[in-house]
Amino acid sequence: MDRRVVITGMGIYSSLGKNLAEVKESLYLGRSGIVFSPERKEFGYRSALTGFVEKPDLAKVLSRRQRISMGEESEYAYVATREALQNANIDETLFDKQIIGLVYGNDSVSQAVMESIDIVRQKRDTTLVGSGAIFKSMNSSVTMNLSTIYRVRGINMTISAACASGSHAIGLAYLFIKQGLQDCIICGGAQETNKYAMASFDGLGVFSDREDEPTKASRPFDKSRNGLVPGRGAATLVLEEYESAVRRGAPILAEVLSYGFSSNGDHISTPNVEGPIQAMEMALRQAGLAPDDIEYINAHATSTPMGDANEARALTQLFGSAPFVSSTKSMTGHECWMAGTSEVVYSLIMAQHGFIAPNINLEEVDETARNLSLVKNTINQNFNVFLSNSFGFGGTNSALIVKKL
């Protein structure tokens, strides 16, 4: 029997808000979460713009032993996961009764690495870095921590696939469930954005330097776009096999219809047109859908000149002007490792509430995107089927098709 994979819970902690309700408000209003960071400028950043959300205070929520192993990205992931589990009606006792898995996207832990090495350099003694350093200094830090906090007994792994990490995490969780290997998996993406995390990325000169207008700096598909702005936070989804979700009376929000993927086989940082098309075509085939069936596309578009242009070409070639298209990165900046999950959460919030959030700062549409149905201002529009694109360094591509139920 064909197993269907549904979404039964979601949670978010981002520059648009600390929970689903706050994020819904920001999306509807087209509110940017981007600020100028004096700390980054002082540190030597070419562009000191960043998506901003305060760090959560978990002192009263988690024990010292639990917190001491958590870096910024794990803290965000915990808060997003707590909200997703609450919405999915999953309490801690279910982890004892049922095998639940964990697949999370994360691709850096720079702060923990830097800080522990600084101590060793200063003290010339590795035993003085403390017990939490190693657990904070590995890319799998998020899954290490969440699996311990929740006593996860199923699949337990981190996916590192650059800026497509969060999307591949959903895709792989979907496949594990589809294949009958798991019935329930927590999946998501997390992103640190301390001053260490983005320094080398900034060094490439690909961040927007529109520092005098932070909220206008991220402008995907706009003719005057001049680079991306990094964002931060975490997003979590609970994926379940449909029958299993029904049996436990879980709220069923949406169905993951397909997961398309590809690799460009091309340049390490410059995206192309063919790779994304291959991933999106794979997703359409798997879902048994025609391009016209897609009602909304949450584009990867990060506000870089080449990336947006090539995605616009790919979308135009495959979909023409049929679906509405927007990039929520215009408000959040590029949430990198987390973006693949957060953008599914943003899209699902829109689908639940019958609107499409704007691609803000779209003042003059780029020539390459002129045939797309770009959403400049919030529109009240019911829709069910959407596609979310995520592309990353090395040419890794992921395309997810989701249907609101």
């Binding site: 024990s63 010292r64 032993r65 001491i68 003694d125 035993t127 003085l128 870095v129 403390g130 017990s131």
Partner: protein, 83 residues
């Protein structure tokens, strides 16, 4: 440094680091049980002792440490050795 000073400094960082009430710390109480220490916590104990007293302990130094008094004695003897 007097023993009273050692006790004051030690109790302050133990309550802060291991997030326990000060009443938990009694001279003859068991250190491991009172602070709910696991093997990883001893790594952090080495770090905070070094940062507060400038002395470097190793895990084998804790072999005979059962009570808080034992810990004060251990710190006192190490401080005395480098004085």
């Amino acid at each position: 440094m007097s023993r009273d000073e050692i006790i004051d400094i030690t109790n302050t960082f133990l309550t802060e680091e291991f997030e326990v009430e000060s009443e938990v710390i009694q001279p003859e109480a068991n250190l491991k049980d009172s602070l709910d220490l696991d093997s990883l916590d001893y790594v952090d104990l080495v770090v905070i002792i070094e940062s507060n007293f400038g002395i470097k302990l190793e895990s084998k130094d804790f072999t005979n440490v059962q009570t808080f008094n034992d810990l004060y004695d251990l710190i006192g003897s190490k401080l005395h050795a480098i004085a």
